[in-house]
Amino acid sequence: MEMSGASALVEALRREKTETVFGLPGGAIMPVYDVFYKMRDLPSELRIRHVLVRHEQTAAHMADGYARASGRVGVCMSTSGPGATNLVTGIATAFMDSSPMIAITGQVARPFIGKDAFQEIDIIGVVTSVTKYAFQARKAAEIPQIVNAAFRIASTRRPGPVLIDIPRDVQQEMDILEFTGRPIPRRHGPLPDPDPGTVARMADALAKAETPLIIAGGGVKIAEASRELVALAELLTCPVATSLMGKGCIPEDHPLSIGVMGMHGSSETNQVVSSADVLLIVGSRLSDRTTGNIDKFCPNSQVLHVDTDKAEIEKNATPTISLVSDAKKALKAIHADLVRLHARRPELNWFHRTKNEADLDDLKKDGPYLSAVQTIRLLRKLLPRETIVTTEVGQNQMWSLIHFQAYGPRQFITSGGLGTMGFGFPAALGAKVACPNVPVLDIAGDGSFAMTENAMATSIQEQIPVTVVILNNRMLGMVAQWHRMFYGRRYSSVSLGRSPCFPKLADAYGAEGVAVRDYKELSEAVKSALKSEIMTVIDVPVSPEEDAAPMLAPGAGLQEVVAA
């Protein structure tokens, strides 16, 4: 079939079942946008929806939010130079949290490459450290193959972002193109089944354990292994703690869920984890935020580590037994072995589950402020069970981690690895595009929301209604908290002064904006936001002195939680 490189790109995306591209056009990507324009005449099932952003960073976060909510590959697009570099924060965010994403960038025409032409940037060089792979198409004929490979790389084994850079003249080049994908090389294809011998040793260790415990990470969500996780925990009657990325992979109201462990986990959760004799860690890379000081991490426990990425084994902790496997297959196999061993443990007698039930009937204000903690607990009560919640980064995120119970694996979306402020709102928009029939709400701070608030324009124009609840303390709150705890209250550049009036700002964009003064107004605002056809910003005044508690001091072990 004779077609241009740009048409080949769009056709290849369609063959990968891409429904939506988040992006913003510019000089070096115009041939592709011209193909998008011409799609208007096609029947809707052949069209790809383009969601226009106001800043490319938000396009990347939207694609990421779309991927995390749906498990499908998210696609974002920009022009060369500054368009491409604006994507980088979003690409890095997806990389750190293993989210499948394709970023497509325009590039200056081939004769200009290396000449420092207008809006030329070596984006391959820039993103090599934060992508699974980066392609540059050197001729139109390569595009079908590259797109096919990019989707396989992005979504196989440990997922992650892949960038495709296409010079403008390659987009315009006409050629006879074929759309036959090459098979994925075995070394990057799906992992083989878990080794039965290793599985048996793990099952044996768990069967002999007196106080076994499972730590579940984001890998359990990626492998869609929640059901297998819960089944194994129930067979062993053993508690399940999660990392921040794993939050929700066991419903947090399940009797065996003990919540999120780590720097901002509750002291009860961290104590229970520390007193386990056998730890089964599944799909977690054991980051410093999850383990606390690694040298003090569960020194008396036998560690069994399952991960799909062999480079994670022994990177941080040193396991007794390790297994490189897909989480779902591993959990299934261990379960089957334990059944064979008749290793059922009916007793649940060595740990207490943290009570996390708020008394919400009698909420009273403390001076001019609502409590952030009570606000989040109230949100949980008000929101339907299937709601997808995203967070920003900082105190809002840590309060949500403890006080917002997640009931499903793709219902709590947060920038865990990179900690990207401004992620939550565009990610919420991406999640809403993926799941239009589910309510989506971003729990935000005023500092984070200000970073990507221009995505309100996208929400209104593209009719993607989400709710943003701003816990507004007029501070860069987490940094202020560290100043309070570790820097003798020397508040250095953390006050956001008067901040803009967020409801007015929402109004300026054509969104709903509500400033609430008490819990009753908050309830009403949330209920009406859930019914609204347009997005709503709810501004909640919280105290600049309220801490995200408890927390581990830097360098402390899990057992050493300090109450702030």
């Binding site: 090599t128 193959q145 994925i184 075995r186 070394r187 990425d309 480079a311 022994e314 990177k315």
Partner: protein, 175 residues
């Protein structure tokens, strides 16, 4: 000077295409592996290049490096080379500007080291020496006494003496 016992050798087969050296070297930099030499060239297959890396550090770090390398899309295979079961060589070109009275002595130690004189002019000599890194180090040290001017070393390259067992895997190249 680091002796070869403290250096680990890693043999890496990569897809022979533009940018692969950047991707691999970027990994060392980013994850702070202490790489002391990189030698790269073609292999027995058209589309496959062989890189030989030497790194300082322990076995555990080397295992991590191999795992990270194998995660790279362009890397076909990476493994730690057992130096006792491999042929390990490095090549050096050494330029010396000797005093006239030393010329004869140089010829004799070139012979002892089984090196070769590849260039000879009125004022300088270029010697080609190959062998393990220890031998090259020693040769260079000795040359310092005779007006050593410049040295170019290729970095270590190695080939296991054992028969390959993973032929099929290595044929699985490209994308």
């Amino acid at each position: 000077m680091i002796s070869p016992q403290e250096e680990l050798i890693i043999d890496v087969l990569v897809d022979h295409k533009p940018g692969v050296l950047y991707t691999v070297s970027n990994l060392f930099r980013r994850r702070a592996f202490n790489i002391s030499s990189v030698a790269i060239g073609t292999s027995e297959k058209d589309r496959v290049a062989r890189m030989t890396l030497t790194m300082r550090g322990g076995e555990k770090e080397a295992v991590q490096l191999v795992r990270h390398l194998e995660n790279l899309v362009d890397v076909i295979k990476a493994e730690i080379v057992d130096a006792d079961k491999a042929v390990v060589r490095e090549l050096a070109l050494v330029k010396i500007a000797p005093k006239p009275e030393d010329r004869l002595q140089i010829l004799s130690f070139v012979d002892v080291y089984r090196a070769k004189i590849v260039h000879l002019s009125d004022d300088s000599i270029i010697v080609e020496a190959s062998g393990d890194s220890d031998k090259i180090d020693a040769f260079i040290e000795l040359s310092r006494n005779f007006g050593l001017k410049e040295v170019a070393r290729t970095g270590l390259t190695a080939l296991s003496r054992q028969q390959k067992q993973t032929e099929s895997e290595e044929n699985d190249v490209g994308w």
